[in-house]
Symmetry: C2
Subunit: 346 residues, 2 copies
């Protein structure tokens, strides 16, 4: 089964509408980079690697739609577009990484033809997209050795095909093990407030016919206490040089609970998620989103009018609580700094 | 401010409809014990002490509505009614405790008059109700010494006036400290799946003008990591003789997180919540509720059709993770067995 999260088609960016899932499977066509920004902001497209691909394609779209300009003016305008896209969301590293790749193409392509440069930018965006799927398959291959036949695996949020260009990071590892014939059962945290687990992960697992059970986030500890979870695997939005990992809010709590119960806790993420400029996770910016996500449940209000809310979208799991980080290069164990430095230098 | 959770009025049981809160403040009048059972089952009335009061009043209502019978037949029918009410929900100890009190009145009242016995039963049910408020105020008085001016307190679910006949257990302690002029700020876990925190605790705190901030359950760990929680206080549905405590699902995870961060973790519950017949929490029956609570919120579906769900309504927090248990008799510290044996014998 192939889920097409994001594609470049007829000089437009076509995204599966993740806000409409699982009730409706519909697609949104962005014809301008501003529409792509809006889709990143409102979570039509979400998941760190998918945001990266969307950003790159958005930048390509911005370039494509520029009028004919002098070469300097064009490159300058393109940088402005990239900077604007970079403001869409603050935490996921892949957004900035993808834009860096696009800016590099703009800076380094030797041509006097705007048309040619735009073509190269579109090519780069599509490459980031196809690379992502290949990377996820590699990650799946490496990570699948960590999962054993009969395992009960807990995952949080959606780190699946929908969070990437396809196949997924954490769910990619589960997919790969499933493809190898391992019998797995997945516990899916619903993942409040945006319910990516209930809405998206359950939808993907249903499509894949991988057995799964939905729980609310606060049930995970009780399951661990009962010995019903063998392994935990999640994605990442940004990983610092020492392995500290920003991921969907609730990840940190799961990691503490995993430690308490002696359960392996794995992160699966492409190298593009790693931010070597940050020594530790302490300075990873944590996005705070609007109160309505918490006071409402898909448009139905739960809390009294005017209730004050704190709504951080991510938290930081310290490296000491992470058993291994799975990337396209293999499985990295503690201390992560050495292998992270090694892999990101290549 | 007085919230009337449950009252006996004109030979009927009047309950605030907790499913309608916070959007509407309306009351439901039960004229038969079967209507009371339905209200306990569908969470119109919930919270261990409130369930106890509702059960007692339901039993009184059942007695009141019996036709004129021989004394033996009446007492036999009354026991059957009590047994039927006891089936309404399995975890909260107070339900069984309240029915035991009612059965004792039926067994031990020396009278030949059915009318007199019914009067005594109604009196006992109303006494259980008024006792509960007095007990909660005692608990508040004892527990408030644990809260300091300026504290940030985390609570889970609703252990407030709505969970009791009035005033509350965990929220009663917060109320008492607030009445003493201590400046407190309360973080409110929304408490999926039924959202008692968002719907009920936020509503009570708003009425009391106690500053509070709503979070999703999976944010609590991140707040603790940031040093933003000074103390955690929750209620209980059943406490075993060693202090192991059944409470709303998610409580166990909070207790593990509290230990990780060195944060005091308090339980506030009346002695009627203690089940000395159970040596440990291992045999406390944990209710599993319907899948719809997890896959839907007020009729809005989040998960794909047919998604399998696990929905335990409670979990067990081992005594080792509990800093103190606050009852109407005072503050009990570890090992709890000694003080529990002492208090429940008196």
């Amino acid at each position: 089964m192939t889920i097409k999260t994001i594609i470049w088609k007829n000089n437009a960016v076509v995204l599966i509408d993740q806000n409409a899932l699982p009730l409706a499977e519909k697609y949104i066509t962005c014809k301008s980079y501003k529409e792509v920004i809006a889709c990143i902001k409102d979570l039509t497209v979400r998941g760190a690697p998918a945001i990266g691909v969307a950003a790159a394609m958005g930048a390509a779209l911005g370039a494509l739609n520029l009028p004919s300009l002098s070469q300097d003016k064009f490159r300058q305008k393109f940088l402005t577009i990239c900077d604007e896209i970079a403001q869409a969301r603050p935490t996921a590293r892949n957004l900035f990484w993808a834009l860096e790749r696009m800016k590099k193409v703009s800076d380094e392509t030797k041509t006097n033809s705007q048309r040619h440069l735009v073509k190269e930018l579109i090519h780069e965006a599509r490459l980031i997209c196809s690379d992502d799927i290949a990377i996820n398959r590699q990650m799946g291959k490496h990570g699948s050795v960590l999962l054993a036949d009969g395992d009960n695996i807990l995952t949080h949020c959606n780190a699946g095909a929908l969070a990437t260009a396809g196949y997924g990071t954490a769910l990619g590892v589960i997919r790969a093990a499933h493809e190898q014939g391992k019998k797995l059962h997945v516990y899916v945290d619903e993942t409040r407030p945006v319910l990516q687990g209930a809405r998206l992960t359950a939808w993907e697992l249903k499509k894949e016919k991988i057995p799964h059970t939905l729980i609310t986030d606060n049930m995970a500890g009780f399951l661990m206490q009962q010995g019903r979870i063998d392994k935990i695997i999640v994605g990442a939005d940004r990983i610092a040089a020492n392995g500290d990992t920003a991921n969907k809010i609730g990840t940190y709590s799961l990691a503490v609970l995993a430690k308490e119960h002696g359960i392996p806790f794995y992160i699966a993420a492409p190298l593009s998620t790693i931010d070597v400029s940050l020594k530790t996770g302490a300075r990873i910016p944590i996005e705070e989103r609007n109160a309505g996500e918490v006071t409402n449940f898909k448009g139905v209000r739960s809390a009294p009018e005017g209730t004050k809310v704190y709504n951080p979208a991510f938290d930081i799991t310290p490296a000491r609580l992470i058993s291994a980080i799975i990337t396209e290069k293999g499985i990295s164990r503690k201390p992560f700094r050495a292998s992270i430095t090694h892999c990101t230098k290549e």
